[in-house]
Symmetry: C4
Subunit: 283 residues, 4 copies
């Protein structure tokens, strides 16, 4: 369908957008990174009333520039990917869309509050540029340790929740509405605030019995914080050891990504995509 020249430009653009190791690709990533961070700072500043009043025009124009840049990027991504629909429905595809849409909608419906803040989701795009997943690849054991302890931590958190509901109900009975424990959900909220040792103090027990039970809750919370820590710590140690033992795990990954299916983490020297079999070096 495409002429060879068009095809050439598409491949070129694909390299710039999706690859991180060519000079152009690196530049693209850095520019994108700066744009995203600028955009987040703008969203933040806009929410500060005194700043918004003073610099409204500047903020508005900057936001339009960023929105247009993101729109161009979004379209470029759709064009250069071989399977655009797959990209559009992917996690990053949706985030990319949500990064551009709010400003356009505000043209029609006016500056809706919630829409403006939606732009903070742009922050999630940072993960793509930093390819944090790959960076974490170096500390894969941490991720593995968390995965290995996920089930246990879930059971632990579930137990914490049940403790919070039961103790929250007891506190509601003891303290009652006149001391701020106006209903069970609020008491449970207080109990979580206390168990996690956050302790806002907006609600605090006033009766001696309430303070006694609160003390038990605090000591309990102080004690059980040891559990997730112990689990992660032990699992992480295990991961480190097992990695040491199997030295043949050191497979070098390059930063190429397949033009066809967008798969990443190809082995060094790989000729074909491990996922779709597309020739990686011969587009």
């Amino acid at each position: 369908m495409d002429t060879p020249k068009k095809q050439y430009w598409k491949t070129k653009l694909h390299d710039i957008i999706y690859e991180a190791e060519t000079p152009a690709g690196k530049l693209f990533d850095v520019v994108l990174l700066i744009t995203i961070i600028t955009s987040i700072i703008l969203v933040m500043l806009e929410s500060v009333n005194s700043i918004d009043i003073k610099y409204h025009n500047f903020l508005n124009i900057s936001e339009w520039i960023i929105t247009i840049l993101f729109s161009i990027e979004y379209i470029a991504r759709i064009i250069t990917v071989k399977k655009p629909f797959k990209y559009i429905t992917s996690f990053y595809g949706i985030i990319d869309l949500l990064s551009t849409v709010p400003k356009y909608i505000s043209l029609i419906f006016g500056g809706v509050h919630a829409l403006a803040a939606l732009r903070a989701l742009r922050l999630l795009r940072i993960f793509r540029i930093l390819k944090l997943a790959r960076y974490l690849g170096a500390s894969n054991n941490l991720v593995n340790a968390l995965k290995a302890s996920r089930a246990k931590i879930s059971v632990f958190l579930f137990a914490v929740l049940i403790i919070a509901i039961i103790l929250g109900t007891i506190m509601y009975l003891i303290e009652g509405e006149e001391n701020g424990f106006s209903n069970i959900p609020k008491s449970v909220y207080w109990c979580i605030v206390t168990l996690t040792t956050v302790g806002f103090g907006d609600i605090a027990p006033q009766t001696p019995l309430g303070q006694f039970i609160a003390s038990l809750v605090m000591i309990l919370g102080y004690g059980i914080i040891a559990v997730p820590t112990g689990i992660v710590s032990a699992e992480y140690s295990t991961q480190k050891k097992s990695k040491k033992e199997s030295k043949n795990q050191k497979v070098h990954l390059n930063s190429l990504s397949c033009v066809n299916c967008m798969a990443e983490k190809h082995k060094d020297g790989a000729q074909f995509c491990y996922k779709c079999g597309h020739n990686l070096h011969n587009d």
Copy 2:
């Protein structure tokens, strides 16, 4: 005493209620789980005044339905168990009774506050359905680690309590009633709030000397949190290793429970109950 047909139905019902692996048993567990969670949400909503006023009738009727369902289940459990008295006096037997009784009592004495909240104890029944103990069986090392470190953690908590009483008394002497430390129990309460790094802030030292000692308390609390964490972490590591070493620990447990004595965690292929010797497969 029972006719064979009656006996058949009793066994059938027993399977549904106590076993988790037949389709009927699974369905029963799921329905019970939903009922318990619904009932807890109802108790919570009822305690919120604004909701209670609006939807009083709906909440009242739902509560009656749940109470009747629980009553039926309670009676069914008594009938199908061979030793009903043992069930009634068991932990879950009492919880089951407490789950149904409050609504009936409210008929006679009116909607007593404390009774309503008693229903939150229904939450404890969740543990039976989820057979959490068994699920935790997979992460048995955690339980063992906690058991192994129980004694040390007790000594640790006891030491924390003594520190709290002595430092609380000192703070009472320094700060006095005018700064909120109105008596020793309250000062001890404040000390626990601070040692556990909760820090509500409803009572806070105002004098320079008081703030200096408070700083010491905080740093102490910040330091000693390392102790239980270190213990659990190390014990857990040990448990993991010892488990690895003894591979013959992997005894598969099934989800049967004895009709005679309600014992659970029978080995796979066990013919007789390990507790009372009752034939498990030949009721």
Copy 3:
């Protein structure tokens, strides 16, 4: 100097007071334990105004009974020990004295506030009865782990203090008196409150810059809590291992204490005191 009969009674009394393994010694310890705990509860209740007004006489008489009991015990201890002066100047000797004196002084000077609370120090006597040190002997690795990591934890706490002073000074400059950071010591206090994640909230940054730096302080505090935990955890693991390796460490200690020098933790079957050479079984 002493007649044989007197000598006999002294040895008898010494056994009751200082030994824990004879029936009389055990009874003495239990009675003393109950007296101490009762006395602490009395001190606490006395500090609560509403209770003190109601039950003043009861509290006063109980306190006199306890004071007299403690006085008798103190004199008995002096008589039965071979080196009374050593006992009087020892840590527990001073605590014992401080446990009895306040009530007598209150006769002369009236019920001075501070004196009353001094009685809370009686709690320290519990350690002697429980011989907690020995109980901890079972979990000696914990004590060793803490000892081994003492130096590092000191350096760590010292670094925390320096961070608190420097960041406290910065916060004082940024927030100033109008936001509660009225002087540097108070700012440092706030900084410790925040670093240890206690967070009373009686002083809280109000300016954007102050809140930004506060965020850094919090994340720092959240991060460095890992350090003491990691140290204790690792040291404790090491202690456990080294204990396993050297099986010949299991030296059984008995609960005898030398009549001559009061040294404890004699090996089972030891004939002479390891400290002063006094014959342990031949008083």
Copy 4:
């Protein structure tokens, strides 16, 4: 350029100031330590209004004495070092200058607030005297453990920051200005306060939905505190083991420092500076 006598005195002075093992050097260090601590206490006291008014003259004169002492020390350091410029531009050189300058400037511009507090930076000089780095040398594994886990902790803190921004924005949308979440930066600040379990309570969610999300934030914060702890703990264990294995690491360092380039941590018996080749024992 220098006469032999002058040269002799310079070397002598260098030994006193830079070496810690001669009696004169030790005395110098102790005096300096006391001066620095006194000076910090003065800065602190000066900031307390009530004290400053009472003892203004005493504080002012003491401060002048300390400033002059520090000035003399600063000049002496410049004279005795072979490469003065390198010292002046070094970290400690700048700290030393900042320790003396504020009081002189206050002569011209009056007692500027910020200048006074700048003197708190003197505290940093303590690190030089204590040669904490060397002391930590004993617990080098801790430093290595922190270095080894630096990358992972950075990624972790970065993830925490992103979570804080996104959850902060959500809380801003839910709670809004009327409940204290007046703009996104403030909401993010609140989110960090909560995630780190500090919980000042100056801002606290009021709406049920806000309290529900706050509960999630707290449990998240409570859970992820396990991650840095687990990392440091595991890395520290590894460091300890690897140190045990390689016994030949025990290189004794002496406390000499090169007159030429000020390099420290020379091996015992080293004849020449490892950095600049200067003869260490033949000045």
